[in-house]
């Protein structure tokens, strides 16, 4: 896991330097978000001793780190930094049917929330590396589908994404409360209660951040409107040498 994360950090840095060399700026805030996200994910221990520790890991790996990584806009960066041909191939891949289906909020939400339900009702949560990776990937997928700023062709409108987000928050809260009364196999009741409260209230805090991001999009302020392009997709390609060349 740590090796994967270090690789992600290096690739991102390499892409930013490539852009720099071509004289294209990349906002430092996005790079900061990427490195904070990776640092948060690295800080989670691979094998949690108690269920409470595991739950802290769940909040960080499944929600906190993915949110930061989404804000870092890795897809936009890749599209700009890759050579034209590779960037075109990536853009085509993003438009392909499997990717469109996978990144739909409903699919992403079912994978993320469904995975959590399975993990915590069967005791599979103590699975180590794979569980951590699953939490991080589905967390990223869902966060990107709900409030991502990367170009995503066929991303549904805010109404669909709001409904899915509300459903997801509901499932998360219900699962937390369920765990309070029904500890997963092998977990003592007192520990499950602590972990459930952590999941419930910690989850709320992180969901609040996601709701704010979505509402910012729903109700853009007039003073910010001039900075916001009508849709994320053209903005991502705007000023990019890649698309400038490809459209020429």
């Amino acid at each position: 896991m740590i090796a994967l994360l270090i690789a992600a950090a290096l690739v991102y840095a390499g892409a930013v330097f490539r852009l720099r060399r071509r004289g294209v700026d990349w906002p430092p805030g996005r790079a900061l978000a990427w490195y904070l996200g990776i640092a948060a994910a690295v800080a989670v221990p691979g094998h949690a001793h108690t269920f409470r520790d595991h739950m802290i890991g769940h909040l960080v790996l499944g929600m906190g780190a993915p949110l930061l990584l989404v804000l870092a806009r890795p897809v936009t960066l890749a599209l700009r930094a890759l050579p034209v041909r590779a960037a075109r191939r990536l853009a085509r891949a993003l438009r392909s049917r499997p990717v469109v289906v996978l990144t739909h909020p409903v699919t992403a939400g079912v994978l993320d929330a469904g995975g959590l339900v399975v993990l915590y009702t069967t005791g599979l949560h103590s699975g180590g590396f794979l569980v951590g990776l699953h939490l991080l990937l589905t967390g990223y997928l869902f966060t990107a589908a709900a409030v991502g700023r990367d170009p995503a062709p066929h991303r549904p409108g805010p109404a669909v994404r709001s409904a899915v987000l509300i459903a997801f928050i509901a499932v998360h809260g219900i699962l937390a409360k369920h765990l309070y009364g029904h500890p997963p196999p092998g977990v003592p009741a007192a520990e499950a209660e602590q972990a459930a409260q952590l999941m419930y209230y910690g989850g709320d805090l992180l969901h609040l951040a996601v709701i704010v991001l979505l509402c910012r999009e729903l109700f853009p302020s007039p003073t910010r409107a001039w900075r916001l392009p009508p849709s994320p997709a053209p903005a991502a390609c705007h000023n990019s040498p890649v698309t400038a060349k490809s459209s020429a």
């Binding site: 709001s162 987000l165 509300i166 459903a167 997801f168 928050i169 509901a170 499932v171 809260g173 219900i174 409360k177 369920h178 309070y180 009364g181 419930y200 709320d204 969901h207 609040l208 709701i211 704010v212 509402c215 910012r216 729903l218 109700f219 302020s221 007039p222 003073t223």
Partner: protein, 147 residues
């Protein structure tokens, strides 16, 4: 789409009422818990959905309020009227349907709940009356022209 004073106020009313219920009675006073063991599964699910909706509503309403203020179309009376009415309607619904008809949870356990129930529902009705009065009076308000 023009943001609406009534929608913004009502959304925040719902959000605040739900928030106050959870914070004060569940977490600070421990009168009823977020998981009452006697609560049926349906109660758990409905609570989860309600929490998610009210949470979202509170944030959305504040964004609406911000844009009302910015465009100078905020009508405080109408906004507060909608807020109080929605908070009262929620509380009355909670106090009658959820507590009494569905018996999802009670305000308190191991005591005579009658005085609590009366207090709860009277406050709810008072909120609704105050809200409706404000809404009625707000009809004569004029929208300020944007500067």
């Amino acid at each position: 789409m023009r943001p609406s004073n009534t929608v913004s106020g009502a959304l925040l009313g719902l959000g605040v009422a739900a928030f106050a219920d959870e914070t004060v009675f569940h977490q600070l006073l421990h009168w009823h818990h977020f998981y009452d063991k006697s609560t049926p599964a349906v109660g758990l699910v409905s609570d989860g959905v309600f929490h998610a909706v009210s949470f979202f509503a509170a944030v959305a309403s504040l964004f609406l309020l911000a844009s009302l203020r910015r465009t100078g179309s905020w009508q405080p009376r109408r906004w507060w009227g909608a807020l109080l009415t929605a908070a009262g309607v929620f509380q009355l619904y909670d106090g009658t349907v959820q507590h009494k008809l569905l018996r999802l949870h009670q305000i308190r356990y191991d005591v005579d709940v009658t005085p609590y129930d009366w207090t709860w529902n009277i406050i709810a009705v008072a909120l609704i009356v105050a809200g409706v009065v404000l809404l009625a009076r707000s009809r004569t308000d004029r929208v300020a022209e944007p500067a």
